[in-house]
């Protein structure tokens, strides 16, 4: 085999592996991204209707209800708007009312967020950065509105 052919062989094999990998990567990234939305954004219809996304905020105090079996219903709020969340399963250890939470799932037709997964903060001082950001945005929007109404 000539050196030129050999090099061509390596090149083709290399490009094939790379091409295949790129194909998988792009396809996988495309279908597995989930964006983060706050309750306010959900209420403004910015969240996707038929794709999973992440909803984050605080668990509203006194909103936790238990249903059949291991179903739970609670409300996630950014202090401006709130969204009801339905989850079937065991909540994480650090889930509690008045604390930050992120849930991954989809909206159903009744405007309830059906969660496949619920993540709570990991210790008492830690707040998921997305949630902190969402709360801050909602607070600022509120402050702006207050500023507009008071003379």
């Amino acid at each position: 085999m000539k050196a030129r052919h050999k090099r061509l062989g390596f090149l083709i094999v290399g490009l094939a592996v790379l091409g295949l990998a790129t194909f998988f990567v792009i396809q996988a990234l495309d279908s597995n991204l989930s964006y983060f939305f706050s309750p306010t954004e959900v209420k403004q219809d910015q969240a996707p209707k038929d794709h999973i996304f992440r909803l984050g905020g605080m668990v509203e105090k006194g909103s936790l209800e238990r249903g059949e079996g291991v179903d739970v219903l609670f409300t996630v709020t950014d202090n401006a708007n709130s969204v009801q969340v339905l989850y079937s399963g065991i909540l994480p250890d650090l889930f509690s009312e008045g604390q930050g939470v992120i849930a991954q799932g989809k909206m159903n037709t009744d405007g309830v967020f059906v969660a496949e997964e619920v993540l709570a903060k990991h210790d008492e001082t830690y707040m998921p950065p997305e949630v902190a950001d969402a709360l801050e945005k909602a607070r600022q929007a509120e402050a702006k509105m207050d500023g507009g109404t008071t003379p």
Binding site: L29, I90, Q104, H122, D123, T125, P128
Partner: protein, 661 residues
């Protein structure tokens, strides 16, 4: 007083490291042997003072010195002794101190075991390791001093995060750090070789055992982390593609590629520039891992205490290390010539493909890990990349890698032919198809294509390893002398590959055949799953040293016969008021039963309970242990102990030494 001494020891260590990182390197450049000889004593002194600092912090924990802020934040007077010791590395400052100590230990291991290394090489390696040490010591002293006093002193400590009060955590970080930091040794060898211009087979031979040992620690560290997550986090998963897990897996993938590429460099004098690049990337990724864990940029189970300003320091340090070594590489790489020529079908090509696949895998995992950060930094939205992404990238890339494994170990260096390989391997191919299929059809509840692919691949690894082992022995007359004369490196390789096969069985069958269910159970009620019946007998309150727990009692039976009484707990730790799930696990080679308590649902004593049946999950960790043993065997090959003696006389810079094998 003791904490101040610890702090002082740390400052002294920094001072000594400044000498260690400069004088030997300058000495090597000027060929001044007195200056080069400083490498040994400075490395030893650095270890002494870093160890003293570590001992001082450990003493502060053991003696409940709550006037030290770090102790007050991470310990408590009721914390048992073993967790007071492991709490030393339970949070940011202490884990950095452990990093620095580990680096110091590795440096001294090089000094101790590389007596045959030429002085100028040793001086450069120790110097480069010193430069890395400076980064970490400065980081600690400037941004995260573990000895900072708390005035006034706390009455009692805030206790260690309950998740970390566990044996797994006591051993997982030191193991992982030994691996992470161990990769600094091949890195230092690569930099030293580039500085000296001596990139030859001898260099690869010096570097190989260190890479193997670091890889062994990294493998065990990751496996321990996975095991810990499995039984302690109470979710029953063994891998979450969490950013921080990825951060430890990325250097592992590159280190694995490096191990294979070093083999080619040593035996065939090929892939030299590539090997150097891999050594740089492997260490850079372990620094990146530290950055990702400690900077707080990621939402992760591991982001316990985070601080963005520290992240900036590590980011700068990371840029210096990667930028500096790549600049050196750009300068030196054109002078590196690989002399080993090889044909398209050859062991070199197989190892090249192995490297390409491992690096592409690492790159796509890196992409999935950093993509959310990138989008966030560009203000394009907050996203997360879920486990399905990583699975759909990792699995298709791994399948050809494992198929290649069998071909690679059987193929000859330089040139081989498909017909010869096929002639040797077709029985193994048929065997793996038959046994793989039979495994799923006979031993498992239902036929799944993914499972069959997994078992066939695993049996392929076993059978091709057996064929290559037999081929190794067949040209010898008698069995025992042949077994004894086969180098440990070959045994190590074979064993590590068998570990890969066992691991594949574990991950495939667990992922496909696990049954998981969250249900509501009142005392007396039972639930049937697979062929097991789980009956909740009672839930009672028990007290531990620093917690109160609700302890469930479940009777598990199979075909009416009681096989285990399981007692999962839900603990509330008194100080942090944090609930913790302690799962009960009935472990076995064929399957694990996993039971965790959720919460009490009503006044009548109904609880939500999580039940898992996980077939073959033990094989995952068993496989990693076998891989690690293989790595250890390979590292203790006689060849490496002899290595230095053959090549004592230094070769002038720029000379290319042809491969010996």
């Amino acid at each position: 007083m003791i904490p101040e001494l610890g702090h002082f020891a740390l400052i002294l260590a920094l001072g000594i490291t400044l000498i260690q990182a400069t004088i030997p390197l300058i000495g090597a450049a000027r060929n001044n042997s007195t200056w080069m000889a400083l490498a040994r004593p400075t490395a030893q002194a650095q270890l002494l003072f870093t160890f003293l600092a570590f001992a001082a912090l450990t003493y502060a924990f053991i003696s409940h010195d709550f006037s030290v802020a770090y102790v007050a934040n991470n310990s408590n007077s009721a914390l048992p002794l073993i967790y007071r010791i492991s709490a030393v590395w339970g949070a940011h400052e202490g884990s950095l101190l452990l990093w620095a100590l580990t680096l110091s230990i590795w440096t001294n291991a090089v000094v101790l075991f590389s007596r045959s290394l030429p002085l100028n090489m040793l001086a450069r390696v120790v110097g480069v390791l010193g430069l890395v040490s400076i980064g970490f010591l400065l980081f600690m002293l400037l941004t995260s001093n573990p000895f900072e006093r708390l005035i006034p002193a706390a009455m009692d400590g805030r206790d260690l995060n309950p998740l970390l009060q566990d044996f797994g955590l006591a051993v997982h970080p030191p193991m992982l750090y030994m691996g992470y930091v161990g990769l600094s040794v091949p890195f230092a060898f690569a930099i030293a070789a580039m500085l000296s211009g001596r990139l030859d087979a001898a260099w690869a031979r010096w570097s190989r055992p260190w890479t193997s040992v670091a890889w062994v620690f990294l493998t065990l560290g990751i496996a321990l982390g996975s095991w810990w997550a499995y039984y302690e986090l109470g979710w029953g998963g063994w891998w979450f593609w969490d950013p921080v897990e990825n951060a430890s897996f990325l250097p592992w993938l590159i280190a694995t590629a490096l191990l294979h590429s070093l083999a080619v460099t040593e035996k065939r004098s090929a892939f030299k520039a590539w090997t150097v690049l891999l050594a740089i990337f492997a260490f850079s990724l372990s620094l990146l891992g530290t950055f990702l864990v400690r900077s707080g940029v990621l939402t992760s189970v591991h982001a316990f205490a985070t601080d963005p300003e520290r992240g900036v320091f590590i980011l700068i340090f990371l840029c210096l290390v990667i930028g500096g070594s790549l600049a050196l590489y750009a300068w030196r790489a054109p002078q590196i010539r690989s002399v080993g020529r090889f044909e398209l079908v050859s062991r070199e090509t197989a190892l090249l493909l192995n490297n390409v696949i491992l690096v592409v895998t690492a790159a796509s995992i890196l992409l999935g890990t950093l993509y959310p950060l990138l989008l966030d930094a560009l203000d394009l939205g907050k996203i997360s990349v879920g486990p399905p992404y990583f699975n759909s990238v990792f699995i298709p890339l791994t399948i050809p890698l494992v198929m290649l494994l069998g071909l690679g170990i059987m193929s000859r260096w330089k040139r081989d032919s498909f017909s010869r390989l096929f002639g040797k391997l077709w029985p193994a191919m048929v065997f793996s198809l038959v046994i793989g299929l039979a495994w799923v059809l006979i031993l498992l509840p239902e036929f799944k294509l993914g499972a069959v692919i997994g078992t066939i691949l695993a049996v392929w690894v076993f059978s091709s390893s057996a064929v290559s082992f037999k081929a190794r022995l067949s040209n010898k007359d008698r069995l025992w002398p042949a077994l004894l004369s086969t180098p440990l490196g070959f045994y190590g390789m074979t064993l590590a590959h068998i570990g890969v096969g066992v691991f594949i069985i574990g991950i495939t069958l667990t992922s496909i055949y696990s049954i998981e269910k969250d249900i509501r159970l009142s005392p007396g009620e039972s639930y049937e799953m697979a062929e097991y019946t789980f009956q909740l007998d009672s839930v009672k309150t028990v007290e531990g040293p620093n917690y109160i727990a609700s302890q469930g009692r479940l009777t598990v039976s199979k075909n009416g016969e009681v096989i285990d009484i399981m007692q999962p707990e839900k603990r509330i730790y008194r100080v942090q008021r944090m609930p913790m799930t302690e799962a009960a696990i009935d472990a076995g080679l064929g399957r694990d039963l996993f039971v965790a308590l959720g919460e009490q649902l009503n006044a009548q004593g109904a609880w939500s309970v999580r039940l898992y049946v996980k077939p073959y999950i033990r094989w995952i960790w068993l496989g990693t242990i076998i891989m690690a043993l293989g790595g250890l065997l390979a590292a203790s090959d006689r060849r490496y102990r002899m290595a230095g003696k053959k090549v004592l006389d230094p070769v002038p810079a720029g000379t290319v030494v042809t491969g010996a094998a």
